[in-house]
C-alpha cells in the first residue's frame, strides 16, 4: 500500500510550489477581477463585469494592446534576421564560431544593462546620431525616445537586438540536426542553394519556426523590461504589462489590474491552442 503513495511523496514539493504560485494566483486573479479590491481592504466589493468593460472601452487600457503591435512586427524582423544568419552560418564560413558567439551574446545580457546601453545609444547627440552624421544622414537624427512617433520603434529595435540571438541559435541548432547526406543527395540531383533552403532546410525547421511565432506573439503581448527601464512608459510607450503594473502597484486597483491580466492570459492560451491545432506537436510522451 505504501508503494502506491510513494510517488506523491517525491512529487509533493514540486506540486505544492506549482499550485501555490501558479494555480492559486490564477484562480484568485479571476476572483479579484470581478471586484474593486484595493489590495488592503478586508472586504472585496463585487462590481460585476465593470473592470472588463473598462479594459475594453477606456482608451488608456485598450491602447496598450496596440503598442504590442510594434513589438509583434519587430519580431518578424527578428525571425527573418535570425533565419538568414542561421542559414549562412550552417554552411562553411570562416570564423564561424566567432560570428555565432557575437550574434548570440546579447541574449545573455542583463535586461537592465541592455536598457542602459540603449538609453546611452539613443541620447540626443549620442552614438546613433553620431553614426548617422558620419554616414551623411545627419538630417535623420531624432529624439529617439522622446518623440512619441518614434519611441516605440526605438524600443522595439532594442528588443530585436536583445532577442535575435536566441532565435538564431535555435534555428542554427535545428538546421544542423538535418543529416548531411540529405544535402549531398540534393547536390547530386543538381539542387541549387535556393532549392536546398526551400525544400530541405525550411521543412526541417518548420516546428521551431512555428514555436518562434508563438513566442513572438506572447512575447510581444508581455513586453515589460525594456520600456519600463528605458522610458518608464512615458511618451506613449506604455505596454500592457507596464500598465498592469502601475494599475496594481501604484494605483492599488487590484481588481482592474487582475481583469487586464486575465484578458492577457486568455489571449495567450487561445493563441497557443490555435498554434497546436495548426502545427501538431510531436506528442510529449511519458514512458
Amino acid at each position: 500500500m505504501t508503494r502506491r503513495y510513494a510517488a506523491w511523496l517525491y512529487l509533493a514539493p514540486a506540486l505544492a510550489l506549482l499550485i501555490t504560485f501558479t494555480y492559486v494566483p490564477v484562480a484568485n486573479m479571476v476572483v479579484y477581477s470581478f471586484t474593486s479590491w484595493d489590495g488592503l481592504d478586508v472586504t472585496m466589493d463585487p462590481v460585476g463585469l465593470d473592470n472588463y468593460v473598462r479594459v475594453f472601452t477606456d482608451e488608456r487600457y485598450w491602447r496598450v494592446f496596440l503598442i504590442s503591435g510594434y513589438y509583434f512586427v519587430a519580431s518578424f524582423a527578428q525571425i527573418a534576421i535570425a533565419l538568414y544568419f542561421a542559414v549562412i552560418l550552417s554552411f562553411n564560413t570562416r570564423f564561424r564560431n566567432l560570428f555565432k558567439g557575437i550574434l548570440f551574446f546579447p541574449y545573455l545580457l542583463n535586461g537592465v544593462a541592455v536598457g542602459f546601453v540603449f538609453l546611452y545609444l539613443f541620447q540626443p547627440d549620442g552614438t546613433l546620431d553620431t553614426v548617422l552624421r558620419w554616414a551623411g544622414l545627419g538630417d535623420q537624427t531624432h529624439y529617439w525616445l522622446g518623440d512619441p512617433d518614434i519611441a516605440n520603434i526605438s524600443l522595439a529595435g532594442t528588443s530585436v537586438w536583445r532577442f535575435t540571438g536566441l532565435s538564431f541559435v535555435l534555428f542554427l541548432g535545428a538546421i544542423q540536426s538535418i543529416p548531411g547526406e540529405i544535402y549531398e543527395a540534393a547536390e547530386i540531383d543538381g539542387a541549387g542553394d535556393w532549392h536546398k533552403f526551400r525544400h530541405i532546410i525550411v521543412p526541417g525547421i518548420r516546428r521551431i519556426i512555428s514555436l518562434s511565432f508563438i513566442l513572438a506573439i506572447s512575447g510581444s503581448l508581455s513586453v515589460f523590461e525594456i520600456p519600463f527601464i528605458m522610458t518608464g512608459g512615458a511618451n506613449g510607450t506604455r505596454t500592457f504589462v507596464v500598465q498592469a503594473y502601475e494599475t496594481a502597484f501604484q494605483f492599488r486597483q487590484i481588481g482592474l489590474a487582475s481583469a487586464m491580466a486575465v484578458v492577457l492570459l486568455l489571449i495567450v492560451l487561445l493563441i497557443t491552442w490555435i498554434q497546436r491545432r495548426l502545427v501538431p506537436d510531436e506528442e510529449v510522451t511519458l514512458s
Binding site: A7, W8, L9, Y10, L11, P13, A14, L15, L17, L18, T20, F21, V24, P25, V26, M29, Y32, F85, I88, R94, F99, G101, I102, L103, L108, N110, G111, V112, A113, F116, V117, Y120, L121, Q123, T127, T130, W134, W161, L166, V169, L170, G173, I208, L211, S218, E225, I229, A244, Y245, A248, I254, A257, S258, A261, L264, L265, T272, V284, L286, S287
Partner: protein, 270 residues
Amino acid sequence: MKKAAKYVSLIVASAVVLLPLIVVLFAAFKTHAEYSSSGPLTPPESWLNVDNFATAWTQGRMLLGFWNTTVILAISLTGTILIGTLAAYAMSRFDFAFKRLVLGLFLVAALVPGVTTQVATYQIVKSMGLVNTPGSAIVLFLGTDIISIYIFIQFMQSIPPSLDQAAMMDGASRFTIYRRIILPLMKPAIATVAIIKGIAIYNEFYIPFLYLRSPDLSVISTALFRFKGPYGAQWETIAACTMIVILPTVVLFLLLQRFIYNGVTAGATK
C-alpha cells in the same frame, strides 16, 4: 560575389551588436570633463582611469548586490535541482493514478506568462510574510520552474530502468536508488538546468524589483536600476556600473560556450 555579400552582412551584424557595447565601455573610462567634451565614438584618453568603476562599485553597493544575487542564486538552484529531480523521478519511475493530469498541470502552467500573474502572486507572498525578504525571490524562482522538470524527465528516460531493477534486487530502497544511482547519472542534465536557470536568475529584474524593495536587499539588476535617478547626469558612472554587471556574463560565456548553447536550445524547445 555571393561570398563577399555573406561576409559583409556578417561584419555589419557584428558591428551592430558590438558598437552599442563598445561605446559604453569607452564612456566608462572617461573623466567627467572628458565625457562632456568628446564624442561617444572617441576612445578614452586613458584606459587606466578606473575612477568611475570605483565610484560605481562603492556608491552602487555592487558588492552587496553580487552577494545577494549569489545567495539567492545558490539556494534557488540547489532547490530547483532537488525538487525537479525528485518530481522527474516520480514521473518517470513510478506508476500512479492521475499521472497524465499532473503532467498536464505542469504543461499548462508553462503557458502562463509569469509577469501577468504577479498581481495575485504578490498577495500570496505577502500573506506568507515574505515580501522584503530574500525568501520571496527564492520561493518564486523555485516555484515558477517547469522547464527544468521537463529536461530532467527527458534525461531520466534515457537511463535504463534495468539499473534500478538490479539495485532493487540488491535490496536498495527507492530513495537510495534516486540518491546513489539516478542523481549521479543526471550530471549533464543538472548542468544544463543550472546554466539556463542561473542566467535567468542573474538577469531577472521584475521579481526582485517588486519583492525586494529595501536597498539592503538589492540584487545586481535592481542595484543597477537604482543608478537611473541620482546619476542621471553622470553617464560615465552609469556606464562603468553597466560594464560591471556585464563582465561576469562575458567571462562565463567565454568559458562555458558549448554548454550554454546546448542548455538554451534544450530549454526553449522542450
